[in-house]
Symmetry: C2
Subunit: 207 residues, 2 copies
């Protein structure tokens, strides 16, 4: 008979990780799909192969504290995705278009279940929990900064790069939402096309 070890976990994708990390990832994934209010602490603890005691041991602040950590996790996840694409595709317009297409493909692959990891958690909680709203705002700002830096490197001047980065993030976010709700890749693919076009217009204008 196999004895249960301290770091026991079912053989999921997160097995082998510490309990705390497993809880955060599970919370992030569930809230991404079901929202804050639609996700229960007990469901999180079960799917993370942890117990309620462990959850409240690591997150004495309860569900709110856990949601903030979940948003931060999603923040880092998407930032890593963006960084990877921006670094591997030299032209910023092509990079953004590629990002949109990748998001579209991932969305279809998960049968339109996995949208933005931050949006679903933050929506509807902003008035009740300023901590959550703040963490979500930080995520948006970080992603925007990544895009802005890339646009500057491509020769677009400061103010224009700043403004464009805003719209790039807004449009990607909205297109992801529209694709999810419509169960259709089209919004994301067209968003990529038009954003690339917009970026090229600015790059050609500021040589």
């Amino acid at each position: 008979m196999r004895t249960t070890t301290r770091r026991a976990a079912a053989d999921g994708p997160d097995s082998g990780l510490g309990t705390r990390e497993r809880i955060v990832r599970t919370a992030s994934r569930l809230m991404q799909r079901q929202g804050y209010d639609g996700t229960g602490i007990k469901q999180i603890s079960q799917e993370a192969d942890a117990t309620l005691g462990s959850v409240y041991h690591f997150f004495p602040g309860g569900k709110q504290e856990l949601a903030v950590e979940a948003i931060r996790h999603g923040d880092q996840e998407f930032a890593a995705f963006l960084t990877q694409i921006l670094n591997s595709v030299p032209d910023p317009a092509e990079a953004i278009e590629s990002a949109a297409n990748t998001l579209a493909r991932d969305m279809r692959r998960t049968d339109w279940v996995d949208g933005c990891p931050v949006t679903a958690t933050a929506l509807g909680t902003s008035t009740r929990a300023p901590d959550i709203q703040h963490a979500a705002a930080e995520a948006f700002a970080r992603w925007r900064a990544l895009v802005e830096a890339k646009l500057r490197e491509a020769g677009i001047d400061g103010p224009h790069a700043h403004d464009l980065a805003h719209t790039v993030i807004s449009t990607l976010e909205g297109a992801e939402l529209a694709s999810q709700v419509s169960r259709n890749e089209t919004p994301l693919r067209l968003a990529g096309t038009h954003l690339a076009q917009l970026i090229r217009a600015y790059r050609n204008a500021t040589p």
Copy 2:
């Protein structure tokens, strides 16, 4: 002593309406702010000055049926807003920019509480309730059709108008989300600027 009449209601903005309509409007407003799971049937009945019996009388399908009606109400509300602006501003680029600016102003006025009436309700429920997801998809499609018609009238050819309308709705939606989460008008205002720019590029290309 005043006797209770059939259509009694507190002196709110919806007083004078029938009970059913009052329930739908209240549900739409609450779900817009708190999401589907964050809004209880009892809270809806209380704020609508109706009783639980009335809610289940008009909506035997329970919370899901009520949510579908709430989304349809928000759908019509936003469609009316779009129609009004598109009809009163001849140039499509100016019209969309004006819409974005109006949304930004309204958002600030409500202290970033009232976002898109459809998004918050639909997010997180799409997997559980196909009815809700479908109603939300219909809303997006209707808004897109309104924009597409306007672009065609302005001389943009069919395929381009179709594609542009997609991105216009996606970007407005995403910018509204970003503005709400960041508590900042900037995303919406920049979205308006860039969308106008994009539309002008297409109009000039197809004379």
